[in-house]
């Protein structure tokens, strides 16, 4: 009635323009907010991308945690808002056998099957992260006897073991170097909490950040089960066209050298 076609087109395109502008800013902000790769998630968490999509930020895992390990990311913390995480140097995960934080998750962002063997809860399967040793700043690597992280590890001699080697500097002492086995390390962070240096020389990082990936081209030839992986390997062949004549002549071609 009141609106002409001109007005309608104008107001519609104005609304669409505003929506596009708003959407761009909004989307960029959310993208930026969720780009933090260094979040340590509760046990059984899906991969970071899936976790962010699946988590509804209700905080039930945080409330279930008896040690106040888990926290919800607060406004202004530069972490994905409202999602649960922990900082092991403050409070590590004490790896409760009954894992109270996981079954309460209403969305499956914390997946109970990821921390179960034969339908029984098994916290040792958790993969919250992996401990990394900064060998330059670990006093055990200096030759000073310290096994704080090794003693603190709930999977002692599996997730962290000591490697003995001779201290050539003194000639009569041994190094007791802590080595992390990422096959067993759950990323609970008890080692990081226990580390005696001013800033922890052993610390937990998300597995996606800390671990490399071999790919399918290198296999352990001595391990028959590893042999299968090579079948997944994809070969890429590149061909470079070289003329036979010019390839031979290239060594005789002194024109370039004589130019100067």
């Amino acid at each position: 009635m009141g609106t002409t076609r001109r007005e309608f087109i104008l107001s519609t395109s104005r609304a669409i323009g505003l929506a596009a502008l708003g959407g761009l800013v909004w989307g960029a902000y959310v993208d930026e907010l969720t780009a933090n790769k260094l979040m340590l998630r509760p046990p059984g968490a899906l991969s970071e991308r899936d976790f962010l999509r699946q988590c509804i930020k209700c905080g039930l895992c945080v409330e279930a945690c008896p040690f106040d390990t888990l926290q919800l990311a607060r406004a202004g913390s530069n972490k994905p808002l409202g999602t649960p995480y922990f900082e092991p140097r403050d409070v590590p995960c004490y790896m409760c056998p009954e894992i109270p934080c996981v079954p309460v998750c209403p969305t499956g962002a914390l997946d109970i099957t990821k921390v179960s063997t034969d339908n029984k809860l098994d916290i040792n399967k958790a993969q919250m992260g992996v401990a990394v040793v900064d060998a330059k700043n670990c006093v055990a690597f200096w030759g000073i006897q310290c096994d704080a992280c090794y003693r603190a590890c709930p999977l002692l001699d599996k997730a962290i073991y000591l490697e003995y080697s001779k201290n050539e500097r003194t000639g009569k002492h041994a190094f007791l170097k802590p080595i992390v086995d990422s096959d067993y390390c759950t990323g609970c962070g008890l080692c990081e909490r226990a580390c005696v240096t001013q800033k922890a020389a052993i610390f937990v990082l998300p597995r996606e950040v800390a671990l490399g990936k071999v790919g399918d081209h290198y296999i352990k030839g001595w391990d028959s089960s590893d042999d299968k992986r090579v079948k997944n390997a994809e070969a890429t062949t590149t061909t470079t066209e070289i003329s036979k004549e010019s390839a031979i002549d290239s060594l005789n071609d002194t024109e370039v050298l004589l130019d100067d």
């Binding site: 989307g27 959310v30 907010l33 991308r49 999509r53 509804i56 209700c58 039930l60 406004a75 913390s77």
Partner: protein, 277 residues
Amino acid sequence: MINAIYKHRFLILRRIVQVGLMLLYIGGNVWGWKFLQGNLSTSLLLESVPLSDPYAVLQMFAAGAIVSSNLVIGALIITLFYLVLGGRVFCAWVCPVNMITDAAAYLRRKLQLDSVSKKQPASRKIRYWVLGLSLVLSYVLAIGAFEFVSPIAITHRAIIFGMGLGWAMMLIIFLFDLLVLKNGWCGHICPLGGLYALVGKVGLVRVAHDESKCTVCMKCKVVCPEMQVLHMVGKTSEQVLSGECTNCGRCIEVCDDDALNFSIRKLAKERGNETNN
């Protein structure tokens, strides 16, 4: 004194419900109460009944998340609850942001800012655009887009799980409503309010206007956060049927002539007859 309480009876009741719910949640987190755990995104009532924010679940659908049966049940319970009640009961009676924006609106009236800027420079339809946009963004980013910026979620998490910079968000909303746009957040932008306005179209609890008692003093329109829903005041006797009405009851309280009251929605036929009269 008693008159003052009577004149604010719904307001006092709303604050008791809002603060009480937040207290129950805080108790769930801090003191380990098992009555109501979680927060307004998803909670667990008595360790057995799941309750979920239907908007958060909708965003998860749009983002392509696997939505568990618990969430679906929880969202259905909440949706049905507000669908039957009618109006944006969540906004006026549950949402903690309501206390912030009500405070801003109160201050606007006291400072007479409304008489300075009479015409509001924004449409109340923005919330439906934001609602649509949030679902498109959730689909594109494969992540619940509004949940990561929601001032509502930031506010209730700040109250329940620790403040952080949450107070800054509360202050921004307060100042926005006070200085930039009257009823700006709750009445124009908030997509959760937009969703509940759609859900609340058909519910039973309705404010009814009795034109024969009305003296056209317009106190109700001054105090109403969604005054477009009171279009019938002083004109016809009918129920407020817009889903945008928050059922806060402020109009009923301020009316000195008993021209406004809560009522149960009449059946479609009767309503038809009434408009014929």
